[in-house]
Symmetry: D2
Subunit: 485 residues, 4 copies
C-alpha cells in the first residue's frame, strides 16, 4: 500500500523516459498490424496464449506482436557490441551454465539483448517488469516467442505487478539461484514470501539507487543473507550516466521542448558535479553564457578554472534566460527566485530528484498554468510574465530526451558481468554484504565498448608492468578508484 | 504547368520545415475546439465567412480558429523584439503611411508579426501564401479576424494558389505600390497579368534564392521595370541562416531522428563553408572526431587550422559513422561511396539542395528500403548492411529540426526595413536594378536584435569617428562588405 | 628628415619583433666563433670583404658569419614548404628568367629562403633592408657568400639606409625590371632619383599597409606609372596574420611577459574583428571569462552568438583582470578607464597601432613607472595600485611573442607569386593601378601550404564543375571574395 | 654519498624550474646594485653579516640584497590572497602561538610569503633550503633582514647543504616542535642526529612525492614516531598541479622552446590521466589534431568520448608532428619509435619522471646532437632527419615554462593549514601515521582562493543541510573523496 506508492512514484518518475520511448516506437509504426490489439481491453492474465513452439509459460499483451519486437531487438543488438562480444565468447565457455536467474527490470529492447545474452552464456531466466508502465509489449512478445518466460505488459495494475513477480519466482520444479533487480521489489518479494529461497541464491545484482539503498539498510540491520553487487556506482556507468549523457541530453531536452536557440543565451547552472559539468560544457560550446552556483568550494574552484562565473542564484536570477538545476538538493529554486525571473525564462531540472525546483510553490491561485506542449507549461503571473517550466520540474533528460542505447549497453554489460562474477566467485570471496564491481570488471566493461570507436588500447610490456607494479591485464587503478568530480 | 511544378518542387522542399512546424502545433493542441473543422472538406473558396467586424474580404480555412492563431502570434511576438521595437517607434512616425503592400510568403505566426508591424508602420497589406502546404490556418484566421485581407489555406490546389494571388492584386479601387515576394510567383503573376501596375509600384523586396535569381535574369534581359531589393544575401541573414543556425540544427536534426550519441563518433563533413563550419564546430564540441573534405584550398586551409583532418571522401568512407554534405554541389556522395560505408552509417544533407547525395542511385532492386521512423530510412544491402538515410537526402535542418523564431525575426526585420527603404528612397537613389540592402540597414537589423542579449554597443566619440573616417552612426564597414567564409 | 622619422617610427614599431628574434638567435649561440666580431665597431661601408668566390658586390657586417646564417636558412627552409615546392617546379621552367628584382625588406632567414627561391626561378636579385635594426647579420652574410648582392646590417644610420638602397639600384650595366618593397622606401627612392628606370619596370609588389597606402595615393594622383600588386590584403595572408596567428600569440605574449594563469581570469577584449575573434577564442578555451566591446552591431551580434557578453568598457572596467585592445581605433582605453582598473590589472594591445591605449596619459607626475621585466611596466598610483602595462601599449604579439615561420611562409609565397604574375602577365592585363592578387593565385598559395598538414584536396568531377559553373582548377570563389569578419 | 646523489638527482630535476625562474629574475634586474656581489666568491659560511637590527643568526649570500628580495615578496603577496587572508584572521587569534617550526623547502618569494604568514600566526621559524641550487639569494636576504634565521644560498655544496640544515635544528635553547619538509632530508637528518627531538615534535608536514614515500616506508617499518601529514595528495593541489596547470604549460613550454604554430598540427599524447587530459584539451582548442594512447580502458573510453582517436603509438608515429608523454611509465617512446618519426618531429615529456622517453637510446655514435637553443636539441639521423628533443626528456613544464604563483599559493596554503591542524589537534586525533589533509581543510584551502575570481559560494539553508545530511560548513564530500581522472 503506502510503501508501494512511494516506490512507484520514484521509479515512474525515474523511468518516465521509457514512456516517451515507447510512444515514439508506436508512433512510428502506425501501420503495423499489431495495432489492432491496441484497443484490446482484455487483461493478459485472462488470455490464453501460446508461442509458436507451444509454450504458454509467459504472460504478455499479445504474442502476435513478436515480429515487430524482434526487429527492435535486432536494431538494439547493433548498438550493444559488448553483449554481442560476450555471446561470441560464450560459444566456447558457458560461465552461467546452471544459473537460474530471476529478473525484474524495465522490459525494453536493450533488456532483451541482455536476457538473450544471459541465455547464450548458459543461464535460464524468468523475468518481470520493475515498472507498471515501462514495458514494451512487442519486445515482451518477442522474448516470449523465443521461449523466455516473461510476465509483463504496459499498464499493469499494482496487483498485476506483484502477480507477475510471483509468477517468475513461484514455479514448480524451478528455483532461482541469482537475482537481477532494479528497484528492489523482486528482492523484497522473495524476502517476504519465500525467505527460504535465499539458501540457494548465490547473490543479488542491483541496479538502482533506491534498490542499493535498501540493500545497504538490510546489510546494516544484519538481515542481508546473500552477497549483493551494487552496479549503480561503477565508475564507467557513472561517467556515462552523468557527464557524457547529460552533455548531450541537456541540448536535446531543451530543443525538443522549446526549439530555442542556444547562442547568446544567459544560463545559470546550479551545481557543478558531473551532471552540471556536462550541462555547462555543452551550453558553453553552443555559445551560451553560463553562470554556476555551488556549495562546495572545490567544485566551485573547478567551475572558475573552467571559465564560468561563480555566483549566488540571486545575483543573476533577474537576467538569465534559462535556469538548470543539477544539485541533488531540494528547493534550490524557490518561489522567491521564480518571482524574480524575467519573462520567458525557462526553468528545468537535470539533477537527481524532482525536489530541486519548488514546483509546489507555483500551485497558487494568482498564477495561471497553461500547457503549451507535452512536458511544457507556461506559468503566468498576474502581470503577464510567463515562466516556461519543463517536465514540471522532473528530470528533463529522462522526460524530454532519450537515453542512447550506448549508455544502456554499458549498464547491461555491467549487470551481466556482475552476475558472472557472483555466480562463479569461489566460496568466501563475497560475504553477506554489498559490493562494488571489482575495478578489473569495470575496466573490462569499458574495454568491451572500445571497439565501437575503433579504439586501440596499448598493452604494457613486461618491463613496464614491473616498473609500475601492475598486472599487465589490470586492474590499472586501485579498487578504491572512484570519480567524484 | 511544367515550370510551376519545378517551382513547387523547390519551394516545398525548401520549406518542408513548416509542415513539421504546423504538425507540431496541431499535435500539441489536440483538444482545441477548432479541430472540429479539420475534417471539413469544403473548399474555403466555397464558404461564406465574415470576421467579427463584418468584413468578408479574406479567404481562409475557418475564421473561428482565430483565437488559437492569436495566441501563437503573441508567443512569436515575444521572440521578435526587433519588429516590436519598430512598432514602438511607429507611434511617432509612420514611414509606410500610404504604402499599399501586396505580399506572398509563407503564412506563419512570424509572418503575422511582420504583417501587423507593417500595418502599424502605416501600410495597407493584402497577402497570399507562397506555398500550397505551408499556411498555418489558425494564423491566417487570426489575421483575417484582425482585418487583414488574407487569401491562403493549407492544402491549396495549384488553381487555388493563383486564385489567391489574384484576389490580392486584382481589387477594385486598390492598387499595390510595393511587392514583398518569396519565390517570385507574385511578381511573375503581375508581370504576366497586370504589367501596368508596375507604373505605380515603387519596388520589390524578394527573399528567396529562386526569386532573386529570376530578378537578376529580368534585370539582365532589361525587363526589370522597378527597383528590387535582394534581402537574401544580407550579411546578418546569411550568418544566422548558415553558421549559427546550422551549428545547432545539425545536433538537433541528428538527435531527433536517430537518438544517437555524438561522443566518440567519427564524422565526415563534406564542404567547409559557413554551413560546414557550423556543423564541424558543433560536432567537435560534442566529442565527435570530424574529417572534412573541400575543393577550395582556402577553405581547406581553414579546416586544417581549425583542427580538422582534410581528406578525400574515399579515404575515410569505410570508417566513419556519419556522413554530412554541406557543399551545394551534386553527387558528392555517390553510390560507390554508399556501397563502401560500414553498417549503420548515417547519411544526411545540410547543404543547399537535395542533389548532394545520389539518392536515386539507391533505388535499385537489390537494395531494400525500410522506413523506420518519420524521415528515417534504412537502406539494406543484400549482405544485411544498413545505411541510415535521413530525410531522403533533403535538407536535414529543414526537414528534421526547427528554425528558431530568432532567425526568422532577422529575416522579417530585414524585409520590413527593405520595404521602408524602397518606399522612402528619394527619386533616383534606386534604378531598375537588383540591390542589396545598404550596409547601414544591415547594421540596423543587427542592432535591433542586440537587446535580446542585453548587449550594449559602444559608441564612437567624435574624435574616434574622425580618426577612423567613419560616421558615428555607421555604416562601420564598406558597402561591399560580405562574408564568404 | 621629418618624413623619414615618421617612417622609421612606423616600421620599427611594426617589426620590433625582429629585434627579439635576433636577440634570441644570438643568445643561443654564445659560443659561436663569429661573436668575436660583435664588438667590431668598424662600419661595414669602410670594410673590404670578399666572399669565397671572390665577389665583393655586397656590404654586410661580417662575411665570416655566413656559416651560422646558412644553418638558420636551412632550418627555415624546412618550414617553408611552398617556396621549396616552387623551387622544385622551377627545375623544368624558369618563370622569372630575365627578371631583375630589386628588393627592400626585412632581412631574415625567411627572406633568404624567398630570395634564393626567386633565384631558382630564374631571377637576378639585389637587396637592401627596409629597417635599420631588423637585419640578421649572419643571414645577410650567408646570402652574400652565396652570391647575392646584399647591402644591409643591423644598426644602420639613416644615411647608411639610403646608401644601401642606392647601391642596389644604381649599378652599372644592370637595371631592375621588378620591385619588391616593404614600406615603400625603395619605390620612393627610385621615384625621386631614377624616375627613368620605371620605363623598364614591369611592376611593384608591395607588402606593407604603409606602402600600399602610398601606392593608392600615387594612383589617385595619377602618378603611378607601373602596375602595383597589393599583397597585404590577400585573404589567406589576412586570415593567418590576424585570426590564426593572434589566437596563439595572445596566449604566448601574456605568458612570456607575466607568467599569469588564464583559468578563471576575467578579460575584456575591445573589438571583435578577426584579431579580437582570435583572442577571444583562445582565452575562452583556456578558461578565462571574456567580455567584448564593439561599435559595429554586426560584429557585436557575432560576439553574442559566440558566447561573449557584449558590454561597454565602463561596465566591466573595475572587475576585469586583463584588458586587450583589438580595434584599430584610438584612445579606446583612456586615463579614466586606467584610473578605475583594479590593482594588478594587465593592459595590452593586439590591434593595428599603438594608439589604442592612451599611454601618454599615464606620463603624469603622480604616477610612478617601474620596469619590472623587458616589455613589462608597473604603473603605480599614489594609493599603491599597480597597472601592468605590456610593451608600452605597442603590439603585444610583435613585441612579446614570435611570428611562426609558417605565417611568414604564406607572406613570402604570396610575394613570389605576385612577382611571377606581374612579370609574366600579357601586355594590358594590368594597367597603372594597384591590384589585389587574383583569387586564383590566393588559392594557389593556400594549396601550396596544404601538404604541411598532409591535407588532401578534393577535385571536382567534370560534371560537378559544370553544375557549379566553375573551372575545375579554380578560382572557386569570385574575385571580390574577401573576408571581413 | 650514494643515497644523497639520488636525492639530488630527483629534486634538481623536479625543481629545475626554479633555476629558470631565478635566471629570469636576475636577467630583468641587471642594473640592480646587488649585482656587484655576484662575482663575490667568498663562501657565505665565511662571512660576518648582520641585519639592520643587529642579528647575525642567519647565513645568506648577501644581506644587502634584502631590498630587492622584499619587492619580489611584495609582488608575490598580491597573488597569494589565501595566505594574506590567514594573516588578517591572525590579528585576533594566533593558532600557531608557541609553535617552533623548522623548515626545509625551496626558498623563493612564495616560500617567504608562507614563512611570514606562519610568523604572523604566532610561530617561530628556522629555515634551510631543500635544494642546493634553488635558493633566491635576494629573498633569503630579505627574510634574514626581517629577522628570520635562514640558512641558504644558491650554489651550496653538499657539505653546505647539511651544515645549513644542522644550523636550523641544532640551536641552544630552542627546539623545534613542528617540521615542514620537502623531500625528507630535514626529517632524515633529525632521525639520524637528534632522534630525541621527536619527543617534543607534534608532527611533520611533507610536500614531495619522494618525502611522502619515505614517510610511508617509515610507517610500514613501525619507525614513524610522530604523526605526518601528506599534503602532496590533496584534491585541490592535484587538480591544479596536473589538469589546470598542464593545460596552460604545455602550450607555453612548446611556444617558448620552438615558436611553433599549433593550428593543424598532428599530436599524439601518451596517457590520458589528469596531465594528459590537460594537454589534449589545450591543443585541441588551439586547432591541433590530437591522438591519444592509453593502457587503462576506462581512461581510454573517456578519451573517445572527449573526441580523441585512441591509437597505439605505432599507428601514428610516422605522421605526427609532436609526441608528448604523460604516463608516469618508462620507455613509452622507444628508439624504435624515434627511428620512425618524421623529420622535425618534436618530442617532449609532461609526465612524472624523465624515464618516459628513452633518451639514453639516442646517445649512439650514428646520431648527432645539436643544441639549438636552451632546452632544445636537434638529434640528427645519418639521412639528415632531425628530431627536436625538448629538455632532454625531462619535464617540459618545469624546465621550459613557469609555475604560476596561484598554483604555488594553493600548495603553500595547504602547508600552512596542515601545520595548524597538526599543532592544534587534540591528543589522539592523529597517531604515528601518515595522514591526508582532512577533506574539510581541503575545502577550506579552495574557499580561500575563491575571492581571487570574485567567486561567490552558495550556503546551504538549514533545511537543505538536513535534507542532504551535511554540516552547513562542510565537508561536502566524504573524506575518501579523491580524484583519479
Amino acid at each position: 500500500g503506502g510503501r508501494k506508492e512511494v516506490q512507484f512514484h520514484e521509479t515512474i518518475q525515474r523511468w518516465s523516459l521509457f514512456h516517451g520511448y515507447e510512444y515514439r516506437a508506436r508512433e512510428l509504426n502506425i501501420a503495423a498490424s499489431y495495432t489492432d490489439s491496441s484497443d484490446d481491453e482484455t487483461s493478459p492474465r485472462d488470455k490464453q496464449q501460446k508461442n509458436s513452439k507451444g509454450s504458454s509459460d509467459f504472460c504478455v499483451k499479445n504474442i502476435k506482436q513478436a515480429e515487430f519486437g524482434r526487429r527492435e531487438i535486432e536494431i538494439a543488438e547493433q548498438e550493444m557490441p559488448a553483449l554481442m562480444a560476450l555471446r561470441k565468447r560464450a560459444q566456447g565457455e558457458k560461465p552461467l551454465a546452471g544459473a537460474k536467474i530471476v529478473g525484474c527490470t524495465h522490459i525494453t529492447a536493450q533488456t532483451a539483448v541482455l536476457m538473450e545474452t544471459l541465455g547464450a552464456l548458459g543461464a535460464q531466466c524468468r523475468w518481470a517488469a520493475c515498472n507498471i508502465y515501462s514495458t514494451l509489449n512487442e519486445v515482451a512478445a518477442a522474448l516470449a516467442e523465443s521461449g523466455f518466460p516473461v510476465f509483463a505488459w504496459k499498464g499493469e495494475s499494482e496487483d498485476d505487478f506483484w502477480w507477475c513477480i510471483d509468477r517468475c519466482v513461484n514455479v514448480e520444479g524451478w528455483q532461482p539461484n541469482m537475482i537481477l533487480d532494479d528497484g528492489g521489489d523482486l528482492t523484497h518479494w522473495i524476502y517476504k514470501k519465500y525467505p527460504n529461497m535465499f539458501k540457494k541464491i548465490k547473490g543479488i545484482v542491483e541496479e538502482s539507487v533506491t534498490g542499493v539503498h535498501r540493500l545497504y539498510q538490510l546489510s546494516k540491520a544484519g538481515k542481508l543473507c546473500v552477497p549483493a553487487m551494487n552496479v549503480n556506482d561503477s565508475v564507467t556507468k557513472q561517467k556515462f550516466d552523468n557527464l557524457y549523457c547529460c552533455r548531450e541530453s541537456i541540448l536535446d531536452g531543451l530543443k525538443r521542448t522549446t526549439d530555442m536557440m542556444f547562442g547568446g543565451k544567459q544560463v545559470v547552472v546550479c551545481g557543478y558535479g558531473e551532471v552540471g559539468k556536462g550541462c555547462c560544457a555543452a551550453l558553453k560550446a553552443m555559445g551560451s553564457i553560463v553562470y554556476v552556483t555551488e556549495i562546495d568550494p572545490i567544485c566551485a574552484l573547478q567551475a572558475c578554472m573552467d571559465g564560468f562565473r561563480l555566483v549566488k542564484l540571486n545575483e543573476v536570477i533577474r537576467q538569465v534566460d534559462i535556469v538548470i538545476t543539477c544539485t541533488g538538493n531540494k528547493n534550490v529554486v524557490t518561489r522567491e527566485h521564480l518571482d524574480r525571473m524575467k519573462n520567458s525564462c525557462i526553468v528545468c531540472n537535470m539533477g537527481h530528484s524532482n525536489t530541486e525546483i519548488d514546483v509546489a510553490s507555483l500551485r497558487t491561485p494568482e498564477l495561471t498554468w497553461e500547457r503549451v506542449r507535452s512536458q511544457v507549461d507556461h506559468v503566468i503571473w498576474p502581470d503577464g510574465k510567463r515562466i516556461v517550466l519543463l517536465a514540471e520540474g522532473r528530470l528533463l533528460n529522462l522526460s524530454c530526451s532519450t537515453v542512447p542505447t550506448f549508455v544502456l549497453s554499458i549498464t547491461a554489460t555491467t549487470q551481466a558481468l556482475a552476475l558472472i562474477e557472483l555466480y562463479n566467485a569461489p566460496e568466501g570471496r563475497y560475504k553477506q554484504d554489498v559490493y562494488l564491481l571489482p575495478k578489473k570488471m569495470d575496466e573490462y566493461v569499458a574495454s568491451l565498448h572500445l571497439p565501437t570507436f575503433d579504439a586501440h588500447l596499448t598493452e604494457l610490456t613486461d618491463e613496464q608492468a614491473k616498473y609500475l607494479g601492475l598486472n599487465k591485464n589490470g586492474p590499472f587503478k586501485p579498487n578504491y578508484y572512484r570519480c567524484w568530480f
